[in-house]
Structure formats: structure tokens, C-alpha cells
Symmetry: C2
Subunit: 105 residues, 2 copies
DNA sequence: CCATGTCGTTTACTTTACGTAAGTTAGTAT
DNA sequence: ATACTAACTTACGTAAAGTAAACGACATGG
């Protein structure tokens, strides 16, 4: 295993996107801000990993976490500008999937 | 962990792209057909995993493996039509990385 | 013939990531 | 007090990935 000959920014971007679930979480948040339990029920991710990923994406400046001290307290996750900028990536993955993945596995 | 409420094709596409290294392998092969050792030296992937991923991508119909019985034997990996169709996805990830990832980590 | 080298791949073993299930905390309702 | 929900967190087992060494096919050189 040697060092890269490719662009480190691209490598880092890929690293984020190729972490399991991050793409789906971003695509889900592109439909609008929402709470933990809503994301959790959108695809078969475990709560433990969703929690871990949201924290990671927050660190990467892609996701924003906001606490609304209502009653009951509401915690809402949304995309930052950096996260919203991933929309074209998600769109292209959707296009490719529609064109090249067979509907029935 | 529950079932998905999202498009299964998109979920499958995401699954492929969010497997570690697949995006980088595809982006490397977009620069042209090449052999194992060349891909291996493009980024810090281990030979064991590169071998595993190429087999996986071949199964998914994204990568094509061709053996040229020269001396020494040459094995060349290239993208299928399905693989080449990933170019816009890779391009958008590159754009996003250029715009949003800081050069020095 | 036997040692040496290369390429792609495989095996054995360790480390890290992920999945499952149960527990925690804070607030609300019954 | 008890029960319930949302959002985590902890503990633990399994699966995936990393490291290092070895393998088989072939070629070359002594």
C-alpha cells in the first residue's frame, strides 16, 4: 500500500462519499430538514451508526444539528451549504442507477 | 433497522459507490485501461482488497478484465459501458471536492 | 537444471467498522 | 409512581479491511 498519485482533495471527497450510508443520509436530507427517527426509518441503518455518521458529517461541515427546546424537544438535522452542494453528485448517482441498475435483484 | 422507503435502484447504486475504493478505482479506469499494478500504485489500496474489488466490479458489470497472453502475461482492466456511464458521477464528486474540501488536511 | 524475478492473486492473521440489543437521559403523559 | 418517546450510548459479536507472506505461471540467466 503506497501513497496516492491523485488529487488529495478528490481523495478526501471520495473518502467521505464512500463511507457507508453517507450518500443516503445526504440524499435524504436533500428532501428537507428532518429528525433522527425520520432518517432512521428511510433505509435500513442502525441507530448506532446513524448517530455516528451524523456526528461525522457534522464534523465535516456537511450536516447541521439544531435543537429546538420545544416540548417535547425537537432535534433537527439539515444540510449546510457544503452539504447542499452535493445535490449534483446525488442527482448523477440517481441518473446512473435509473439507467443501469436492474429493477429486480 | 427497518426496510427502505427509497428507490431500490438508487439504494443499490449507492451501495456500489459507497463501498470503499470503488469510486477511486472507477475514476482511475476512466483515464484508460490499465493493469493491476498501475491501479494499485494510484492510491493507498492493498493488493488484497484491489483484487477483491475488481472481482466485485466485474460481477456488477462495471469493469472488464482482459488477459493478453504476451510474455510476460498482461492483464488489463477497463470499464464497460456501464462503468463509463459513471463518468458524470465522478466528475461531480471532483467538482464538489475542488469547491469544498480544503487543500491541506 | 536450479535459482531468481515479475505479475496477479491467495492465505493467514490482526485491526477496524458495522450490526444487534439493551440501557440511559430528559421530558410528558396517565 | 409508571409508562412512553426521542435521541443517544454502551457492550458485545460479526463482518470487512489492512498487513505480510506465500503461491503459481511464466521467463531469464547461470
Amino acid at each position: 500500500m503506497e501513497k496516492s498519485t491523485i488529487c488529495p482533495r478528490f481523495e478526501k471527497g471520495m473518502q467521505i462519499l464512500s463511507k457507508r450510508w453517507t450518500g443516503l443520509i445526504v440524499s435524504q436530507l436533500l428532501t428537507g430538514p428532518q429528525r433522527f427517527c425520520n432518517i432512521e426509518s428511510s433505509f435500513p441503518i442502525s441507530g448506532r451508526i446513524l448517530s455516528e455518521r451524523l456526528k461525522y458529517l457534522e464534523q465535516e461541515g456537511i450536516v447541521k444539528r439544531e435543537v429546538y427546546p420545544e416540548t417535547p424537544v425537537r432535534i433537527e438535522y439539515s444540510l449546510t451549504e457544503k452539504g447542499i452542494a452535493l445535490a449534483p453528485v446525488i442527482r448523477e448517482i440517481q441518473n446512473w442507477s435509473t439507467d443501469w441498475i436492474e429493477p429486480a435483484q
